[in-house]
């Protein structure tokens, strides 16, 4: 019961700033994930690489 009260207090106390911070965290994570992390992890598609063959 005490733990439940603590969790309830943790969530409900200052819920607006907490919600805004959570949304900001999600937006920043998605931004970095989409624009930076995915680009780095994109694997080369070997079928579409045009190799230059010396004449």
């Amino acid at each position: 019961m005490k733990t439940r009260e603590r969790i309830k207090k943790l969530i409900t106390l200052n819920w607006r700033p907490k919600l805004v911070c959570l949304l900001a965290a999600i937006i920043v994570w998605l931004w970095v994930e989409w624009f930076y992390v995915r680009d780095e992890n994109t694997e080369w598609d070997m079928d579409n690489i045009q190799l230059s063959i010396p004449e």
């Binding site: 700033p17 907490k18 911070c21 959570l22 900001a24």
Partner: protein
């Protein structure tokens, strides 16, 4: 693989959430909170839009200008503030600005404090004025009557006029504005040698002991002015010295005085 990806995402978002919330808590009562919020909004929204539009050149320019510039401003904000305050208080600048601004706008905060204290002394009104620095005294502002008004000699004189509803208690000033009047401050239990120091002085000393606020006390009985910072009390301070000390304490980031010996207390 997908499960690991989602666990990693959840963990990273949680870490960011805690980080952002702790940053918010650290900055929520400070003067720079609004500036920081605005700056973050510009950086996040601007960065997101630039990424979406693939505006590589603008992004490079913005990164080159905004990045180091912002860091420098943030890092050297106190020094910049001091330099600007010194520049603004220079008589030559004052004369030039006086031509463009009217007298009311040209009066700086410290002069206004000095004049208000002079008025209180001349009228023999007892007064207790606490000026916030880093500590925002939120626990004490809750106990008073909310005002959020520009600091002026007239308003201070009216608040501390005896028999008015707000004259008992402290005025709390933050960011050059009167936040509350009739605030209740913690009373110091320290043994005071000077018997002329009553409950008003004890409250002022109590606040200074518990925060980094600058406290000005005008004695109703003797008409003398005391300045209290940390553990240091300056009794019977003259108005020009008060102005000088306030300039030092507010604009040159002098220590709280907690390590100094108590004078006359």
């Amino acid at each position: 693989m997908q499960v690991v990806y989602y666990i990693r995402a959840t963990f990273e978002i949680l870490v960011l959430w805690v980080l952002f919330y702790q940053l918010y808590r650290a900055f929520k009562d400070s003067r720079g909170a609004a500036i920081l919020g605005g700056l973050l909004a510009i950086v996040v929204l601007g960065g997101f839009l630039l990424e979406l539009a693939h505006a590589v050149v603008i992004k490079q320019i913005a990164g080159a200008i905004v990045g180091p510039g912002t860091i420098l401003i943030v890092l050297f904000q106190p020094e910049l503030r001091t330099a600007l305050a010194k520049l603004g208080s220079h008589p030559f600048i004052g004369r030039i600005m006086g031509r463009f601004l009217n007298n009311a706008e040209n009066r700086d905060f410290i002069s206004e404090v000095r004049d208000s204290v002079a008025y209180l002394v001349s009228k023999r009104y007892g007064a207790l004025i606490a000026i916030c620095r880093k500590d925002k005294l939120s626990e004490y502002t809750k106990t008073g009557t909310q005002l959020d008004a520009a600091y002026s000699r007239e308003l201070i004189g009216t608040i501390f006029m005896p028999k008015t509803l707000l004259h008992d208690g402290a005025v709390i000033v933050d960011n050059e504005r009167i936040i509350t009047a009739a605030s209740i401050l913690p009373v110091s239990n320290r043994e005071l040698k000077d018997l002329s120091m009553g409950l008003r002085h004890r409250a002022g000393i109590g606040l200074a002991e518990n925060s980094d606020a600058i406290v000005i006390i005008v004695s109703e009985e003797t008409g003398t002015v005391s300045l209290v910072v940390g553990n240091m009390i300056q009794r019977d301070i003259n108005l020009d010295l008060l102005k000088e000390r306030l300039t030092q304490l507010l604009y040159t980031h002098e220590n709280t005085g907690t390590d100094k010996k108590t004078d006359n207390a």
